[in-house]
């Protein structure tokens, strides 16, 4: 049992790893986080990947921006943008009645209501 255990433990330790998004998200959203006050009301979320298909980008955004609550959906005064393809951001923002307030680079945006 001990021999089998040591074999499996070392095999598991040496197994190849997949990329690890939570390690990168703090750096990516760092500037946006500093620009939002801690007691900010909940902000919305807009991305180029549908939440129903893959919500991990939304969850990671919330992880990075805590304690600001990020609500699923773009119906808020301030909306956070998380885009794998940043070129799509202005189009999707306009379609949701939003204007770009600031682009932080790396596909991270802050939008506000367009009115």
């Amino acid at each position: 049992m001990a021999c089998a255990g040591i074999f499996y433990l070392l095999q598991a330790a040496a197994a190849p790893r997949t990329p690890y998004p939570p390690g990168l998200v703090d750096e990516r959203f760092g500037e946006l986080k500093r620009s939002l006050p801690k007691d900010s009301p909940p902000v919305g979320y807009l991305g180029d990947i549908a939440l129903e298909t893959n919500p991990s980008g939304y969850y990671l955004t919330q992880y990075a921006l805590a304690p600001v609550v990020v609500a699923a959906g773009a119906h808020r005064h301030l909306v956070v943008g998380n885009f794998a393809r940043p070129a799509l951001a202005p189009t999707l923002a306009a379609a949701n009645g939003l204007v770009v307030l600031h682009s932080f680079g790396n596909g991270v945006f802050l939008f506000r209501e367009g009115k």
């Binding site: 255990g5 040591i6 499996y8 598991a12 939570p22 992880y63 304690p67 699923a72």
Partner: protein
């Protein structure tokens, strides 16, 4: 400062409480047991006081100091007589010094080293933990630490996907360390997870060393530590290892009560504290706590020493009172409804419980995963079964062991019933959780099985 926050302060608080309960001279060879159990219990207690400090708006260091003073006072009052484990302990048998029996501690050491390598490898690859860790526990810790007075934002309705109804032992412990440090560090959650996995393995080995012998203790340690999934869950920073620790602690203290009646009420108090911490760790821990306290009440009605059993049970409830008060306040005032309960209607639950196919699916899943949950082809459960077959079962079983088996069987039944009635996709729920649930129970099953053995090693 980080090392003072964890593990030093929780370990000292827990160690002093254990010394108060079991006494002991200046240096005692059972101190590793006290240190292992004390680290886990101390971590739980300091997370409760961290929660109290949030409610009171006071720095948690103030509450830690009070806790430390209480533990020191109890040790000074009760803990300076001879160790209850050493008094009356038979001298080591010559058979224990034979060569094959010297191999087992070395085998345990080598397997433990392999497990440490696996932990370090996984933890360095995923410093924020696995999915559930960063999206539930570590994120809640960020809310508690970063929000200041507005920490209740952690339970906002928009965060329903992150299970804001989960109790706060793990996030509270992490946020407490960050408060000591005055900044966030991914070493805090990794350290808490490492503390619990080490404490669980050490507690299993040392309590069997006290109640049985060193050879069986090493064998049990190898069966636990050689399961890669046990270490993997710890490196992922999931709360299942703390649940496994507190269940093991509650069962172990119940067995110790029987063997050392001179301290039975103090040990019962610590068993109650461990059971309360189960409920403060995870929602399924609440079910385990209810099962434990219900079965522990049985000897009051059916046992031969009813008055003594009532006093033991009072001590047990006293021990559980602090974590249960935290759970009650959290669940009644702060936490939103649990998604399994909120998404449930009586009619739908009855319909699911009348569906025979669900029973078959859940039974098959348990039957399959009992051989695979450890993540190793040579299933530890088969090795354990062979081990028990070789040594035979003691007859009659000690009352505490009968109680321990009843608690474990009721816990498995409880999980079975939850799977049957819970809404949502059953296959998804089973594949995502059944291995973790078996890991929660595995250290306690190992302890109870080894203590059930007939012959000495």
């Amino acid at each position: 400062v980080g090392l003072i926050a964890f593990p030093l302060v929780p370990a000292v608080i827990g160690f002093l409480l254990l010394r108060a309960a079991t006494a002991g001279a200046r240096y005692c060879r059972h101190d590793l047991f006290r240190l292992a159990l004390g680290l886990g219990l101390g971590t739980g207690l300091t997370s409760c006081t961290y929660f109290c400090s949030l409610l009171a708006g006071v720095n948690c260091i103030f509450f830690d100091a009070i806790l430390l003073a209480i533990a020191a006072g109890l040790w000074f009052r009760f803990g300076r007589s001879p160790c209850i484990f050493c008094v009356g302990e038979p001298p080591a048998r010559p058979i224990e010094r034979q060569a094959p029996r010297k191999l087992l501690p070395w085998a345990l050491a080598i397997v433990s080293l392999g497990a440490c390598l696996l932990y370090l490898s996984l933890a360095s690859q995923a410093p924020h933990g696995g999915w559930d860790a960063w999206s539930i526990y570590n994120m809640r810790a960020r809310f508690l630490f970063r929000s200041g007075p507005a920490w209740q934002a952690a339970f906002h309705a928009e965060l329903a996907w992150a299970h804001p109804d989960y109790p706060l032992l793990v996030p509270g412990s992490i946020a407490r360390i960050w408060t000591y440090l005055s900044h966030e560090s991914p070493l805090a959650p990794a350290g808490v997870a490492l503390g619990f996995v080490l404490a669980t393995a050490a507690l299993l080995v040392t309590v069997i060393r006290i109640l049985k012998d060193r050879t069986h203790a090493c064998a049990a340690g190898i069966l636990l530590v050689s399961a890669p999934f046990f270490t993997t869950l710890a490196a992922w920073q999931y709360a299942d290892v703390p649940v496994a620790f507190f269940l093991l602690a509650a069962v172990a203290l119940t067995c110790l009560e029987d063997r050392f009646p001179v301290s039975e009420r103090r040990l019962a108090c610590l068993a109650g504290l461990s059971a309360g911490m189960l409920a403060w760790t995870k929602n399924e821990g609440l079910m385990l706590m209810l099962v434990f306290t219900a079965f522990r009440a049985a000897p009051m009605f059916f046992g031969p020493r009813k008055r003594s059993e009532v006093m033991r049970y009072v001590a047990l409830v006293t021990g559980a009172s602090l974590p249960l008060a935290c759970v009650a306040y959290f669940k009644l005032v702060l936490a939103p409804a649990n998604d399994l309960i909120a998404g449930q209607t009586t009619a739908a639950a009855l319909a699911r419980s009348a569906n025979a196919g669900r029973y078959i699916d859940v039974a098959l899943a348990f039957a399959n995963h009992i051989f695979t949950f450890a993540g190793i082809a040579l299933a530890p459960v088969i090795v354990l079964a062979v081990y028990v077959f070789c040594f035979g079962i003691a007859k009659p079983l000690a009352p505490s062991l009968r109680l321990a088996w009843c608690i474990l069987l009721a816990a498995i039944t409880g999980y079975f019933v939850i799977y049957i009635v819970s809404p949502g996709d059953l296959t998804f729920r089973l594949t995502g959780s059944i291995d973790r649930i078996l890991i929660q129970l595995w250290p306690s099953i190992l302890l109870t099985s080894i203590l059930t053995l007939n012959k000495p090693s």
